[in-house]
């Protein structure tokens, strides 16, 4: 029987080259979805294969890797992906945002500002922001080519007409470098402003849909809105029960079956850093309840 021998970070060099070429093209055309021949990976499609392929293509032996899911290093899928890279690349891993050179993330952007030496890799399920308005790929490709984004605004108009607000709370569409409309992946809209003029390179990988796209460092990113209904950066009103932060995105944790709940930072590294800085590991702040 053929016993497999794996290359550094699993992918063979040919594949890495192909993906890097796609990445370079993506960086050259900010926000544009570059098709690439996604490989079958040892984890299922929809579970981060795009992000994993991007990370595997850019990882070098001296890199320090952080993997988060829902903002935390310890959620099951983040653990699984981190172990995958430990097994196939042997790179150093960390939970510290500041220490990492490559951060692979699902559904959150870290609270701490990123630097020029860092790359943020997003896992993307559906790369096409127009997909749910127009299911045909042939049509959406044309819309992007012709910058024909009226339909996107129709959706926002409908939301306001129906709910009084734009009803998109995550995967909120953005315009990159004043040209391409892009789906930032299912990050909460709270994270949208972080993408604009970010010092780090942001790469987006969609394995099942076979697309990669990018926001080069220091690129303008605007969330779509109307002049009289500007983009709102929604955040649940409250402070973290562990570290007292009032500026981070909070997770709601159900503590009992009588409606008891508390709120904690979604970004676990941010939270732990704050706690160790203030030495407040033992004290529990009274969690404020949202109005």
């Amino acid at each position: 029987m053929n016993a497999p021998v794996y290359n550094f970070a699993y992918l063979d060099e040919q594949t890495k080259r192909m993906i890097r070429r796609a990445i370079l093209k993506a960086v050259a055309i900010p926000g544009y979805q570059v098709p690439f021949a996604s490989r079958e990976m040892p984890m299922p499609y929809g579970w981060g294969t795009g992000g994993v392929q991007v990370t595997a293509s850019i990882l070098g032996p001296d890199d320090v890797l952080k993997v988060i899911d829902q903002g935390s290093d310890d959620t099951t899928n983040a653990v699984s992906i981190r172990n995958f890279f430990i097994k196939t690349a042997g790179v150093r891993t960390t939970t510290s945002t500041g220490e990492a050179t490559v951060i692979q993330t699902r559904h959150r952007i870290p609270e701490a500002a990123l630097g020029e030496h860092q790359i943020l890799v997003f896992q993307v399920p559906i790369p096409e922001p127009l997909r749910f308005l127009e299911p045909r790929e042939t049509e959406t490709r044309r819309m992007h080519a012709l910058a024909d984004y009226g339909l996107m605004h129709v959706k926002l108009y409908e939301d306001i007409a129906r709910h009084g607000h734009i009803a998109t709370t995550y995967a909120y569409p953005v315009k990159v470098d004043s040209r391409y409309v892009m789906d930032p992946s299912p990050t909460p809209k709270f994270d949208n402003p972080k993408m604009s003029n970010c010092a780090a390179l942001q790469l987006f990988g969609a394995g099942r849909e076979k697309r990669v796209y990018a926001i080069p460092p220091h690129t303008g990113v605007e969330s779509l809105d109307f002049e009289d209904h500007p983009f709102e950066r929604y955040r649940l009103d409250g402070t973290c029960a562990f570290c007292g932060a009032n500026d981070s995105f909070l997770d709601e944790v159900i503590t009992d079956d009588r409606g008891g709940r508390m709120f904690v930072c979604s970004d676990t590294d941010y939270c732990e850093t704050r706690r160790s800085q203030s030495g407040a590991a033992e004290t529990m702040a009274e969690a404020s309840v949202p109005r």
Binding site: D12, S38, G46, T138, L250
Partner: protein
Amino acid sequence: MYVAAKGGEKAIENAHRLLAHERRGDPSVPELSLEQIMGQLRLAVDRVMCEGSLYDRELAALAIKQACGDLIEAIFLLRAFRATLLRFGASEPLDTGEMAVRRRISAAFKDLPGGQVLGPTFDYTHRLLDPTLQGAGASEPECAEPIGAMPRVTDILAAEGLIEPSPRTRPDDRVGDLTQDPLNFPADRDLRLQNLARGDEGFLLALGYSTQRGYGRTHPFAGEIRLGEVEVEFVPQELGFSVPLGEITVTECQMINQFRGSATEPPRFTRGYGLAFGHSERKSMAMALVDRALRARELGEEVKAPAQDEEFVLSHADNVQATGFVEHLKLPHHVDFQAELGLLRRLRSEFEQERAGASSLQEAAE
């Protein structure tokens, strides 16, 4: 008191150990061997090879054992392995005309050169559960001699010009490769057939069925279904001539469909084609039905039915992709859910406020 949970790592480890335990089952029962799976569950092995897109009976059997019989999980294992293999080129096209035929039937003709050879088929069995299979020691297997080459029905029709020629390929044209290039629409027939060949049997079966029930009717006749062994040949660059690599078993289905003519061409029957690894009749027949339906565009037919919708069919045929995405819903989504909860709560409070405002206005008016 709630403490930030750690231990995702340990949880995964334990889950894997439990899985291995359940895979083995009762230790007093003999463990399944790969030979048993290859020999006595051969049709499962065939399906896994076909949709896993890799011809290797032993590996497919291993995948089935590792997946505890979940065939789509096994297909996934095989595909993931395939992705690590080095490719050194493409074979010559298989010559199914030279197949060592073990089974060959045609619904289009009562009899034909080579005859109707039933071979090992479930077709005319009565579907009654057979209790004699409960124990070991069933009947002595009979050895079926392969019949040898026999002419293709479609070639017989083509000789009279009654069926469209198999679409001409320019020999220098590169055949598209789904695993190397991303799928773009509109897709040519080579990529469509590749997509269908590795597509989910259930999905294609349903689509093929739908065409028979009127959703994109193509008036199919089973021109020929043949099962047997064919040689795989390869031309190494260094040699410049073809060398045989070995034999594989394939099932081929040629459907004869609704005739078509044009201003310059007399009417002819049209084709639908299906090919699968191993003994996979259902798959090859369904594939042929869907292949023909997808040719609607190039044959100038109105595209109305799901089976004719290229983007719909080709985007959803791959069960590895499908199961990945469907099952990914099990992953944590609480951040996005939190965002939705926030909006919902806000909308509800606005609703209450409006209602309170409206009723207080009403009170004021009274």
